[in-house]
């Protein structure tokens, strides 16, 4: 049985500069970014708050040291929290629940390392998604390896409506190739989503067809 208090307690042992905030479901303090060989790179002060949806979503992270410039290009939300991943990616990563230590080590610290890189190069090491729906589109186009928005909507609707072919049937794309050898892999990436989420996202995507 998951316990957020126990999750926090276990995690703080690994990050002694982070402390639990009194009377709040939040932790705060310094997070050192240390490369295993190159050593210390930088320190950020962070406030990590847990919402009701946690652990099925990322906790909210505010970079309180304000080293990251508050401009749109730096992916800081209007409420001052960091936006670390595009929504569907976060949903996929959190669908079975996450652990705080994993989040700090695998999401937050690499994100802050990305910000250190930005300070030096004025760009992100692996690029970034555009803001809002445009960024969502970029994510879906990457996953489907297609720039055809209408086609992507059709496929997403097939997923939602459970209209996918069987393995040995022809793929829906008209290639005359068996589905299992054609688009099955790409479609499978989205089968883990709740259909209600996908339905909502289709509506969002359609606003920028």
């Amino acid at each position: 049985m998951y316990s957020i208090d126990s999750d926090i307690e276990k995690t703080l042992k690994f990050f002694p500069k982070l402390k639990k905030q009194e009377g709040k479901l939040a932790i705060s303090g310094e997070l050192d970014i240390v490369h295993p060989k190159a050593g210390f790179l930088d320190t950020y002060e962070v406030l990590i708050e847990f919402t009701k949806l946690y652990p099925n979503c990322f906790p909210k992270v505010t970079e309180t040291s304000k080293k990251i410039e508050r401009v749109p290009a730096r992916h800081v939300n209007e409420n001052d929290t960091l936006c670390m991943a595009v929504r569907p990616e976060e949903i996929l990563l959190c669908r079975r629940g996450i652990k705080l230590k994993w989040f700090i080590e695998s999401v937050l610290i690499p994100h802050l390392a990305r910000e250190i890189y930005f300070e030096e190069e004025k760009k992100y090491p692996f690029g970034d998604y555009s803001h809002g729906i445009d960024g969502l589109w970029e994510y879906f186009m990457e996953k489907f390896d297609s720039k055809d928005k209408n086609w992507i909507i059709i496929v997403l609707e097939k997923i939602v409506n459970n209209e996918l072919p069987k393995n040995n049937e022809d793929c829906f794309c008209g290639s005359k190739i068996k589905y299992k050898k054609c688009h099955k892999y790409q479609v499978n990436q989205f089968l883990s989503f709740e259909t209600s989420y996908l339905s909502d996202e289709i509506i969002n995507l359609k606003t920028k067809l």
Partner: protein, 383 residues
């Protein structure tokens, strides 16, 4: 650290070069430590002093250089000396000197023109310090060879006053520690004329080849570095001629050359490049550049080299240098390494080969990228 280091600091049109073989002997060729945060172009002034004291060794807790070589006494080669280097008896080095992190020079190398007139304030401070050290020799003081008191005059000017002062003259090989050997090419006697000093110090520049061996028992060096201050075309012509006449061709070879006079045209010709009818480089200059070894590199210690004036640096000089290199990527301009806004020293690590070291910001950037890559999310987004 088991490699030799050679570091060229970004100081706009000036020189500051540190040689540090793996026996940790330190040799600084010229210095240019500017005040302030940004230069006239709005680019960051690299904190030479901070980096220098991180790079050199300490004795009794105080920073020191084994050798400081002043190629010639122009301000762009000695700026910041008075403030940042200790002057006086090292036994009297006090708390305030320590607080200011003043660097003690064990052995000072200058030419006799340091005793001439018309010097900038920093050169005057070197002159005063040189006089203090010379006085110890003249008085045959028991302290003349103590730490922080040694001096060598480079070149011979025939002046009787300096006859008892230890010197190194052109043609002489000077061993420094287990790995480093300097071959003195210049200044020549004819250029150490005090009456001419105020008008032209460049021609009196100390010119030397520094050879570094990979192992102390090696008989051949792994790297040859060439420093020539602001020596002009005539001096290089003479150096070439004398070396070839004496079968000293190997003393002309270089793996790394600090482009003379901040990459100005004066290395190639005495005729200003503006004279459109005479833009040809002298054969002697080109011939010297042919002594560059495989994969040789040239460092232009100057402002960003642009097509337009002022000179130095000079774009036409750069073109001539690049023509002589195996690759245009072997030509480096200190002011834009690796970014014009935030230049950092050009550092070579010398072991069994000569490798360029990543700058601090490159190391940080690459380490950050590696850490970012370990994440499960590669790209940020904003709703």
């Amino acid at each position: 650290m088991n490699k030799h280091l050679v570091k060229f600091y970004p100081v706009d049109n000036g020189d500051t070069s540190l040689i540090k073989p793996k026996d940790k002997i330190t040799l600084l060729v010229d210095v240019n430590i500017r005040e302030g945060e940004t230069n006239s172009d709005g680019n960051d002034i690299f904190d030479v002093k901070k980096d220098l004291i991180e790079s050199i060794e300490t004795k009794d807790g105080n920073y020191f250089l084994n050798h400081f070589i002043l190629s010639h006494a122009d301000e762009d080669h000695c700026l910041g000396f008075e403030k940042n280097f200790y002057q006086g008896d090292s036994k009297e080095y006090g708390e305030s000197n320590q607080e200011n992190e003043e660097i003690i020079i064990d052995e000072l190398w200058v030419t006799s023109l340091i005793f001439s007139n018309g010097l900038c304030s920093d050169a005057k401070a070197i002159k005063k310090e040189a006089n203090r050290r010379i006085k110890l020799i003249e008085e045959d003081s028991s302290e003349k060879d103590d730490f922080g008191n040694k001096i060598k005059l480079i070149g011979y000017d025939g002046n009787e006053r300096y006859e008892d002062i230890p010197n190194h003259i052109p043609g002489e090989i000077v061993e420094i520690g287990d790995y480093l050997e300097l071959f003195i090419h210049a200044p020549f006697k004819a250029d150490l004329i005090e009456s001419r000093a105020e008008k032209d110090r460049n021609s009196s520049s100390i010119v030397f080849q520094a050879s570094i061996k990979n192992n102390s028992y090696d008989t051949t060096p792994i790297a040859k570095l060439f420093f020539g201050g602001d020596a002009d075309h005539y001096r290089w012509e003479k150096i070439l001629k004398i070396s070839e006449e004496n079968n000293n061709e190997e003393k002309l070879e270089w793996n790394i050359l600090l482009a003379p006079h901040h990459c100005s045209w004066s290395f190639f010709s005495d005729v200003p490049y503006d004279d459109e009818e005479n833009q040809e480089p002298q054969d002697y200059s080109l011939e010297f550049l042919d002594y560059g070894l495989e994969d040789a590199k040239i460092i232009a210690s100057c402002k960003k080299i642009k097509k337009e004036k002022p000179n130095p640096p000079h774009d036409a000089a750069k073109d001539q240098y690049v023509d002589k290199l195996d690759s245009k990527d072997n030509f480096f301009n200190t002011s834009v390494h690796t970014k014009e806004k935030t230049p950092e020293p050009i550092i070579f690590e010398i072991g069994s080969s000569i490798e360029m070291q990543e700058t601090k910001s490159e190391k940080k950037r690459n380490a950050a990228k590696e850490m970012a890559e370990t994440g499960v999310v590669k790209k940020p987004w904003r709703l």
